[in-house]
Amino acid sequence: MTYTTAIFYFFAAILVFAGLRVITARNPVHAALYLVLAFFTAAGLWMLLEAEFLAITLVLVYVGAVMVLFLFVVMMLDINLEKLREGFWDYLPLAGFVAVLLVIEMALILGSRHFGLEVMGAPAPHAADYSNTKELGRVLYTEYVYAFELAAVILLVAIVAAIALTLRRRKDSKYIDPAEQVKVRRNDRLRIVRMEAVKTQATQKPGAGEGGA
């Protein structure tokens, strides 16, 4: 076993363990932290495949940004876990059986017999000055620019959908629009009414004071 193979198995074992813990951890914060571990080890695997840029992006974007946000949300929301995990252990035997079966089936077909090194051959390693950031950028903005733009459109749809589904103007909201506030004119707040001068006689009216007391 070479050094890289050993590293690969080390990372792969941690990745599988972390993945399992994500779905079995009782505490959602722990689950999110295990997900961070899973991302981190996956980044390590990509590093082994010479995909340095993707590995770093995975750590920066997923671990650095997405998961931090995730953790905040998990910590702030009061989620009733017991209710969410209801039936988890009841379904586990059947689900576990199906999962094991799937893994065996896939191993039969996707094992080294069809995709092993003897059949496919390892790609030639690149020179030390090879920059896969540059290569990625080159194909992303030339050959795959259409797909790239489409991905951007999908993000736009996600934004539109998120706003359309969650934005509510609450009637009881105490929010005041500053622009409206600045634009206010005297006439909006104060109405001057011209009236005839009337002499008030309320206090002298008979019965008015007595009835109230």
Binding site: I109, L110, H114, F115, V119, T142, E143, Y144, V145, Y146, A147, L150, A151, V153, I154, L156, V157, A158, V160, A161, I163, A164, L165
Partner: protein, 481 residues
């Protein structure tokens, strides 16, 4: 086939739609509540403009552009024109319904046009990447549209189911695509076809991948046994959204299937034909039988969709140009019928009343003989009764199936559609022979009535003279394959 790395002219319709969606987004954000019709009108303008651009650059030869991700061929152009038409009709039918339910907002139109853009991308994709991105663009817009009625728990539940199962289907599809990529070393459909031309040593992984792809496609089409989401989503979604989901995306799904199976994996027809036979038979059986038990028209039409998709698969599994042409004719005819069927529910509904139960159609003849007649045509066409387009559509796919020697399959299909005729004719009986329940006059707007009349008469006209449309379909398939 002309091959150009960067040639933008064929992509103008997509660019135009995207630009217009962005414009509508801004205009609607700035417009006050009384000016929601701006988004509606601009959407119709967008559709007309896109149709103009597609027609102006109507291709006679397939053009591969944008690095081989995008293909512009007669098939894609014809399907795109039908997509514009379908979406336009959907918008006209749903306007009043949306207004009465507080859903008449810019977001509906923006999402509908985004969905249209996704369908256009799917229709002219020549690469797994664009096929998948187009599908996601469509699906994400549809999930959001179903959930747009936020305060209705039924609609939210439908959206949730749709989302979860849709994500599962996408996962399967991607997994299958990755297998095919592993075997052929390419994601482009043309390259895959070339790589598989002389067979491959990796047959087992390839078939494994095809199984996942077919399962994913079946999910998206709603073929049995991957149909569970269809009745719930169709029933739970607001009718305008059901109308949208039930019409235009079927055309795109046809293109999706035909591109992957017919163009990319053409040489593996013997592998996927058997799978499609199972899907088709089960869909026709379950769709037609389960529809009998429904008392809700939306649910009934959902099961009818399942059976129609089974019928369409018959044409595809024939694997011949006639079969593809027949399937294309079928899906276009089905889009027309589905527009009419769900559109009728929209026309009969009013504020606070959905008109989606079978009994709401009782005695329609006495309330509005013309609309009852249109519904009669629609139901006859769905059942496949002769002078309507549904008959000819069924005939053309059956012919293709018989041509490849699957006579038993054609016989089974006819038997199942005979069973299906029962529940279509039941509606006709309710409309003509039962006394009306409610005497409230039908409050459909004049433009929706006119479009509905054209829709119904088109079904009759295309049934009497199917040759022009059939010729277009066959030509599009011949020139693109």
């Amino acid at each position: 086939m002309r091959h150009a790395l960067m040639q933008f002219a064929p992509v103008f319709p997509e660019m135009f739609v995207l630009a217009m969606v962005s414009l509508i987004l801004v205009v609607d954000a700035a417009a006050s509540d009384g000016k929601r019709y701006l988004a509606y009108l601009l959407s119709l303008v967008t559709l007309a403009g896109a149709a103009f651009l597609t027609l102006r650059d109507f291709s006679t030869l397939p053009v591969l552009t944008l690095g081989g991700l995008f293909i512009d061929d007669p098939l894609s152009d014809v399907l795109k024109l039908f997509l514009y038409l379908t979406v336009a009709v959907v918008l006209v039918y749903s306007r009043d319904y949306l207004r009465q339910r507080g859903l008449y907002k810019g977001e509906f139109f923006v999402l509908a046009l985004f969905a249209l853009l996704g369908m256009m991308v799917m229709v002219s994709a020549s690469h797994f990447l664009t096929l998948y991105l187009g599908l996601e663009l469509l699906s994400l817009s549809l999930y959001a549209m179903v959930a747009l009625q936020r305060d209705s728990s039924v609609a939210t539940e439908a959206a949730m189911k749709y989302f979860v199962l849709g994500a599962l289907a996408s996962g399967m599809l991607l997994y299958g695509m990755s297998m095919v990529y592993g075997v052929t070393g390419s994601l482009g459909l043309g390259d895959i076809a070339i790589a598989l031309q002389d067979g491959t040593d990796l047959r087992i992984p390839l078939v494994f991948g095809i199984v996942f792809i077919v399962a994913g496609l079946a999910f998206k089409l709603g073929a049995v046994p991957f149909h569970m989401w269809i009745p719930d989503v169709y029933h739970g979604a607001p009718t305008a959204m059901t109308l949208f989901i039930g019409s235009a995306p079927k055309i795109a799904a046809f293109a999706f299937v035909i591109r992957i199976l017919g163009q990319g994996l053409e040489s593996q027809v013997s592998d996927w034909r058997g799978m499609l036979v199972i899907l088709a038979v089960l869909s026709m059986a379950l769709g037609n039988i389960a529809a009998i038990a429904q008392s809700n028209l939306k649910r009934m039409l959902a099961y009818s969709t399942i059976s129609h998709m089974g019928f369409m698969l018959l044409g595809i599994l024939a694997g011949s140009q006639n079969g593809y042409g027949g399937a294309m004719f079928y899906v276009l005819a089905y889009a027309l019928m589905s527009l009419g069927g769900f559109g009728m529910i929209l026309l009969l509904s009013r504020a606070g009343f959905e008109a989606d139960r079978l009994e709401d159609f009782k005695g329609l003849n006495r309330r509005s003989p013309w609309l009852a007649f249109m519904m009669l045509l629609l139901m006859f066409s769905m059942a496949g009764v002769p002078p309507t387009v549904g008959f000819y559509a069924k005939l053309s796919v059956l012919q293709a199936v018989v041509e490849i020697g699957y006579v038993w399959l054609a016989v089974a299909a006819v038997l199942f559609s005979l069973i299906g005729a029962f529940y279509y004719l039941r509606i006709v009986k309710l409309m003509y022979f039962d006394a009306p329940h409610d005497a409230v006059p039908i409050a459909a707007s004049p433009d929706a009535r006119v479009v509905m009349s054209i829709n119904g008469l088109a079904i009759l006209a295309l049934g009497i003279m199917p040759q022009p449309l059939m010729a277009v379909c066959i030509h599009a398939i011949r020139a693109s394959f």
